[in-house]
């Protein structure tokens, strides 16, 4: 292909990637080393507020931001080095927890609590997504032709549902007097409070993610199964290979590049888990790194938001994703060079 043609095809995509991905990333990177503050002054303010019958007036000293002549808040921006990272990581508190022997205290620090959950969430759901996806693909592949359409349609449904709605629907089955909870209570004759148990919430969040993502793995594997060499399969049968042997020695090796591909996508997505926290209101029990960034960015009633810490937390999340993607990426690279 001529360079000019190539550039015409790729140009728009690169332009948009720079505009919407690279530029914000650079800006977040810079902001994570800066702190922008309003210039505040103390002022005596007399405030009269409404009571039911009378006004109550109080005089108090308030911190009020200074305004310039155009009515904008005067701010200062300082380079603070790694201060925001230190405030997110709280390494001194981690050190104190380790030296005092109370390792559990580390998990009371937001970042480490979020990291612990995000990692377990990502790594435990991964084998289930791949296993479930492969299992559904094999079942569909072996189903009779007339059944294939409906089975594919039903298997894809969880993937089509908007993530938060999917999470909410599972929440409603279990939280409070949800249908499934009521059944379980009747079955075991006890009183269940699913949302009161951290581990139960954690399990539901993982269950939801596997339920939601397995269809994606299924579609990819199903496509892959169509390309399995039938001659190899037949000769394996003649050699006396059992169903399991054929799966183990013919099908899985053939699908390996797809398994790596799904692993990559799933690690990336699950590490950025967010909908689960919102859908299951799990912030009392379990939070994810992405939710932590979001929480820091949310303005409070007085309009404060912790942009520097949010930027640091976002950069840490990105670094985490890069680290967690290393092993599968290196594998792909080796295969690529080898091939």
């Amino acid at each position: 292909m001529k360079f000019r043609t190539f550039a015409m095809f790729v140009g728009p995509s690169i332009f948009l990637m720079v505009l919407f991905i690279a530029a914000p990333l650079v800006s977040v990177f810079l902001q994570s080393f800066q702190i922008t503050q309003p210039v505040v002054e103390m002022q005596e303010v007399e405030t009269c507020t409404a009571g039911f019958l009378t006004q109550t007036c109080t005089t108090e000293t308030k911190t009020v931001p200074k305004l310039d002549e155009f009515g904008n808040i005067v701010t200062t921006t300082e380079w603070v080095g790694l201060l925001s990272y230190q405030r997110v990581l709280q390494l001194d508190a981690v050190g104190a927890a380790i030296s005092s022997g109370n390792w559990g205290d580390i998990l009371n620090i937001d970042f480490w609590k979020a990291l612990r959950f995000t990692l377990t969430f990502t790594l435990i759901t991964l084998p289930f997504v791949i296993g479930m996806g492969l299992a559904i693909a094999m079942v569909v592949n072996n189903a009779t032709k007339s059944m294939k359409g409906p089975v594919i349609f039903v298997s894809l449904l969880p993937f089509i549902i908007t993530p938060v709605i999917g999470a909410l629907s599972i929440r409603w089955l279990f939280y409070g007097d949800g249908i499934v909870t009521v059944w379980l209570e009747a079955l075991f004759d006890t009183n269940l409070s699913v949302a009161a148990n951290g581990w139960a919430v954690e399990f539901l969040m993982m269950f939801y993610r596997v339920w939601h993502v397995a269809p994606f793995a299924f579609v990819i594997f199903y496509a892959g199964l169509q390309t399995v060499n039938q001659d190899t399969l037949e000769s394996a049968i003649i050699d006396g290979a059992s169903r399991f042997d054929r799966l183990r020695y013919v099908i899985v090796p053939h699908l390996m590049p797809l398994i790596v591909f799904i692993t990559l996508i799933h690690l990336m997505d699950a590490y950025r888990a967010f909908e689960e926290v919102v859908g299951f209101s799990s912030q009392a029990q379990r939070i994810t790194l992405q939710w932590l960034t979001y929480d820091l960015l949310q303005p409070d009633d007085a309009g404060n938001r912790a942009i520097s810490r949010a930027s640091a937390s976002a950069m840490l999340t990105m670094i985490g994703i890069v680290i967690i993607l290393m092993p599968p990426l290196r594998r792909t690279w080796r295969d690529h060079k080898g091939g």
Binding site: Q37, A50, F52, T61, T63, I73, R87, G176, A284, A302
Partner: protein, 405 residues
Amino acid sequence: MLKRLLLAGAASLALSAGAQACAFENETEVSILSAGFEAWKAVTDAMIECGNVNAELDQEFRQKQPAAFAANPSLYTLGGVSNGTITPLLNEGTIRPLDDLIEKYGQNLSPNQLIQIDGHTMAVAMMVNTQHMMYREDIFADLGLDVPGTWDEVLEAAETIKAAGVVEYPLGVTMKSGWNIAQDFNNMFLGYGGTFVNADSTPNVNTEAGLNALDMMKRLTEYADPEYLVSDSTYVQQQFQQGKIAMANLWASRGGAMDDPSESQVVGKVGAAAAPLAMEGGAPATTLWWDGIVVAANISDEEADAAFRVAMEGLDEEMVKANSDAAIWLVSGYEPSKLAQGAIATATAQPAPSSYPSTSQMGLMHTAIGNELPAFFTGDRSAEDTLAAIEEAYTTAAEEAGLLQ
């Protein structure tokens, strides 16, 4: 497109309301962004009758309002605020003093509706809101219980109700992780005589009052649905309506829903009393809130004039008469219903509960409390460590926001 649809909707509403009285024909575009609860719906509906009014009711308004009002020209002419959410607008100077407008159009306002900062009226309050004790009158009568006046009496009553087994849980609590649980702590903390921050903006919650508040909250949770960390005001309201709980310290603005026959199974059975005291001789353990209207600074004087005039039409006697159940109105002509008595008793108690402090420090403190408290209730952290963690989280945030050096 959406805007045009909304305008069309507003116009058709105005037409269908045709005969209903708005004292004048409004010719200028007026728009309002406010919270989305029942009282705001009543007020904005009354404003829409004047014509050319575009009302946006959105529970996420607190995130949109500061930026929308900082734009020039402002994206809305009117804003609905509370004492919690007026702070950023005041700090950034994006709302205007209303004194001259009140002189022109505000003859019907009573003095306690005026929210004054350094002598300038910056907002006009329309209602007060507070958390107060709502209880099932029938259950209390059956069991021969008195209405609890202190939180210790609440615990005793809860024990009796639990023993009688008449409801699933004796108590409903609004302790959803985040804003709600922090507000419950605030109420209790103030009830035990605490102050959140010192004069130099350093935190002051790791105190006797803080420990007392946490201890009382923990004891209350033993009588509540164990899923209390996901239970917000709407959830408690529904528990009440479905007859699952016997009492709760709940927002006054939720009172009307108890007697709504289309949702509630306990119509006429719910009574309201003042918020309980945390300690003898103290104020009721709650905060006073007001909701009201502000006018944007970055609009022309003509627009401000029209907007304020429309707002006064929204806050008139006619609207209050038609919606007396929707809120504890401050507008003249309001006749309190039975369920409003509890909130009124709370607001007029001696000593009176303080208003929710509208300061930048309080915003940071509220967030810190909401994030750190759940670990105490899940048993991951002791009360002392939790209060220390709140102070630490607040200090970090205040340093980042430039309030502490």
